[in-house]
């Protein structure tokens, strides 16, 4: 690689980092995309420029200053990168471990600089960088793996793995060298500059990919979920119904619970649309705490909701009725507070079991809907259940005979 010119590589790298920092800042300021992560990334890129050196532009500076800039800059860069990564992935982890690791590294570097040891600062920063890089690999794997395929996850984590590997290699290299061989603050050879440039670029690409992935997830969420209550919207719920109907054919039963909030129009007329919205949100909050993770809750429109409950036993309508009764009781006993007033909400529930012969999920939905009307007619705030035997009997089988 002797045809490459190290100072030029460093300048190219500086230009790349400057441009990346600018891009993140622009995305954060102008379009409000990942604002906090973007600012952290911009700071990380600036730190990279400061820490990478530039050939002979700092030739006249004291060696101690140059060394401190290199080691602290590198540490700060990777710590900022990890913080940005956590923001980007919405990790709930506190930054305590990052502060601890980079603080220990910084302390080691300081000790080395004060004692005048050529080796210690580099060893300390290499260890800190390696451990921070390992943390970032874990972060990517945990944050992305659940939602993306293995190949994509591997591609996203690869640059961070390479960073960890390079840091470990550097540590090994330092450990096997003697003090005399080290020339502190020397110009890095061209290949080392190229390696770091490649790493920086790869990590930048990985983060851009993460950002785009987040935007796409946001779009998917907006398309699937009801904006007011956060439950599935009607289109997404109908899709779930189709999926579950397909599972029904393989012996996994489920129940449809249709819910209609009682006297909703009255709330809207008396207390205004804002109260109506709050009531819907309140009801969803109450029901959510009563439902399992596998249950699906969606809003069909207005004050009408639907819950799909996978059943352990294929035709266990009693279990589904129990859940519906629990939902009904929970809403009744947990009134909503609205501008100092206490409003008790109730709802009418219709429970039905979709049958294997139902051509579409809508049939089960219609049966549950009929039960909601029945509950309304019986005075509201109650659960009505479609009789499975009756629906079974009323349905002609394929050869025109009625089942018993």
């Amino acid at each position: 690689m002797d045809f490459l010119d190290a100072p030029t590589v460093l300048m190219v790298s500086a230009a790349f980092n400057a441009m990346a920092a600018l891009a993140w800042l622009l995305l954060a300021q102008m379009f409000r995309i990942a604002p906090s992560a973007g600012r952290l990334m911009a700071a990380a890129h600036v730190m990279r420029i400061l820490s990478q050196g530039c050939g002979d532009c700092m030739a006249g500076w004291p060696g101690l200053l140059r060394e401190a800039l290199t080691e602290y800059g590198t540490l700060a860069c990777i710590a900022l990168l990890l913080l940005a990564l956590r923001r980007m992935l919405r990790s709930r982890r506190r930054p305590r471990d990052i502060l601890l690791l980079s603080g220990l590294g910084a302390l080691g570097v300081a000790c080395g600089l004060v004692t005048g040891s050529g080796l210690l600062p580099q060893v300390a920063s290499a260890i800190a960088v390696a451990s921070l890089a390992v943390l970032s690999v874990r972060e990517v794997l945990e944050g992305v793996a659940r939602q993306l395929s293995r190949v994509v996850t591997a591609f996203m984590a690869l640059p961070f793995m390479a960073l960890a590997a390079v840091a470990v290699l550097r540590f090994a290299e330092l450990a096997t060298r003697t003090e005399q061989q080290l020339m502190v603050g020397m110009l890095p050879p061209a290949w080392r500059a190229v390696l770091w440039f490649l790493l920086t670029a790869a990590i930048t690409i990985s983060l851009i990919a993460l950002m785009i992935w987040r935007l796409i997830m946001r779009i998917q969420h907006l398309m699937r979920n009801d904006a007011l209550t956060g439950t599935l919207n009607r289109r997404a719920l109908e899709q779930s119904l189709v999926d579950m109907q397909a599972l029904l054919l393989r012996g996994h039963g489920f129940a449809v619970v249709l819910i209609d909030i009682d006297h909703f129009k009255r709330i809207n007329d008396r207390h205004g649309h804002a109260a109506g919205d709050a009531a819907l949100q309140h009801a969803v909050r109450v029901w959510r705490s009563e439902l399992r993770e596998v249950d699906v809750l969606g809003r069909l429109g207005g004050e009408e909701f639907c819950a799909l409950l996978p059943l352990r036993e294929p035709a266990d309508i009693a279990a589904a009725t129990g859940v519906a009764e629990r939902l009904r009781a929970a809403l009744e006993t947990q009134p909503m507070r609205w501008q100092g007033e206490t409003l008790t909400l109730t709802a009418s529930f219709g429970v039905a079991l979709p049958q294997r012969q139902d051509v579409q999920g809508d049939v089960g939905l219609a049966r549950a809907d009929a039960q909601v009307y029945c509950a309304k007619a019986q005075g509201r705030n109650r659960v009505c259940v479609a009789d499975p035997a009756a629906t079974e009997a009323a349905r002609p089988t394929a050869n025109g005979m009625k089942t018993a």
Binding site: D2, F3, L4, D5, T8, V9, V12, A15, F16, M19, A23, L26, L27, F31, I33, V152, A190, L198, A201, I205, I208, A209, I212, W213, L215, I216, R218, I219, L222, M223, A227, N233, R234, R235, G272, H273, L300, G301, G302, D362
Partner: protein, 386 residues
């Protein structure tokens, strides 16, 4: 003093950057399915540029046909692909005709010109064609962005890299003709080559970044659309409509009045229960389609929920609103829903109200329109009430 290692490093860095950009665009097209046509074309443009530069860098080591003719044609092809991709970002249509024409003309000229002795004319053809294609791309980007009503400053910012690339190639073309020694061969460590290579490197980064920005902007606009629009009928959702109403109300104190028309489809529940939810959805969509021609650019159309819609008419008094509402009523009445071979008559009840200076909030006028709409319902539906 420029050394051979410096120019080679810069060429290598540009090859690296364009290869990386190729990967990013392929990723955009495959994994994220973002503007796939434009992304694939841009990936191809970057890959072609990287190949052309690699071949150029191997001059003297590999056969001349490859390093001269092919490298030159590929250089023009890279710009042609760039030129084709730019309109596709906004319109999904590639601008390939003009790009192909310039590419073919350039390739023909290069085939006719000798590749021995002074190479100034070959270099002139390559740089001239590239500058022309770059200019076309910049012009296209400018036109599309202006058409999309983007602010002039943003437009300038986004089209500048393409324009600068065109300028850089044009300057190089001029220099190859006037001082052939300094510029025909990129590998020669002249001051001009050094400056040109830095320009190429920075601009290729910048241009890829801005184009990626434009693609991202599509995503952002999509998100904005999804948060503001009702998914079924594509009119404003209640939150967005309320925002528009608040804005209009703020203008009221400065002397610009507004009126609201409340629209409620008649017997919607009956339709839903008889023909099913799908028919109900279709009826709402049909009504929105029918009402669209009554709206001016400044009017705002929103769905407040269920079968209830509202139109905000800025700079309109009650008489104007009554005219609009009456026309809307007739349009809805005249367009029945065709559902599974049968016609189902549609109609709607309308309540109109004009904002008054004393209204404390925007919702006050909305409340009056709502009350008027209820009166219309009680009068037997399919009427306008003030």
């Amino acid at each position: 003093m420029t050394t051979a290692a410096q120019t080679l490093t810069l060429i290598a860095a540009t090859i690296l950057v364009t290869s990386m950009a190729t990967m990013i665009w392929v990723g955009m097209a495959m994994a994220a399915r973002l503007a796939p046509r434009a992304s694939w074309t841009l990936a191809a443009a970057n890959a072609t540029a990287a190949t052309a530069l690699t071949l150029h860098g191997a001059r003297g080591q590999w056969p001349d046909t490859v390093t001269l003719w092919l490298a030159d044609v590929l250089a023009i092809a890279a710009f042609a692909l760039l030129r084709a991709a730019v309109p596709a970002i906004a319109t999904r249509r590639l601008g390939w005709r003009s790009a192909l024409a310039v590419l073919l003309a350039g390739a023909m000229a290069l085939a006719l010109l000798p590749h021995e002795g002074p190479l100034r004319w070959r270099a002139g053809v390559v740089n001239g064609a590239s500058a022309l294609l770059g200019l076309m791309a910049a012009w296209d980007a400018y036109r599309h962005l202006r058409h999309a009503k983007v602010r002039l400053r943003t437009v300038a910012l986004l089209t500048a890299p393409l324009a600068l690339i065109a300028a850089l190639m044009a300057v190089r073309g001029a220099v190859t003709l006037t001082q052939p020694g300094a510029a025909t061969d990129l590998l020669r460590p002249t001051e001009f080559n050094f400056a040109f290579l830095w320009g190429t490197l920075l601009l290729s980064m910048l241009q890829n970044a801005t184009l990626a920005f434009l693609v991202l902007m599509r995503l952002i606009l999509r998100i904005r659309h999804l948060t503001e629009r009702d998914p079924l009928t594509d009119v404003l959702n209640r939150r967005a409509f309320n925002q528009a109403l608040e804005a209009a109300h703020a203008w009221l104190k400065r002397g610009r009045g507004y009126a609201v028309v409340m629209i409620d489809m008649d017997r919607f529940k009956q339709l839903n229960d008889t023909l099913g939810h799908a028919a109900g959805d279709a009826a709402l969509q049909l009504m929105v389609r029918e009402l669209a021609p009554c709206l001016r650019e400044v009017d705002r159309f929103g769905r407040l929920g269920g079968e209830e819609f509202c139109v905000l008419l800025p700079d309109t008094d009650i008489a104007g609103a009554a005219l609009v509402a009456e026309r809307m009523r007739m349009l809805v009445d005249a367009a029945p829903l065709r559902w599974q071979g049968q016609d189902w008559p549609l109609s709607a009840s309308f309540g109109i109200a004009e904002a008054e200076l004393g209204d404390p909030r925007a919702e006050t006028a909305l409340g009056r329109a709502d009350a008027a709409m209820y009166r219309a319902k009680h009068q037997g539906r399919n009427v306008v009430q003030a």
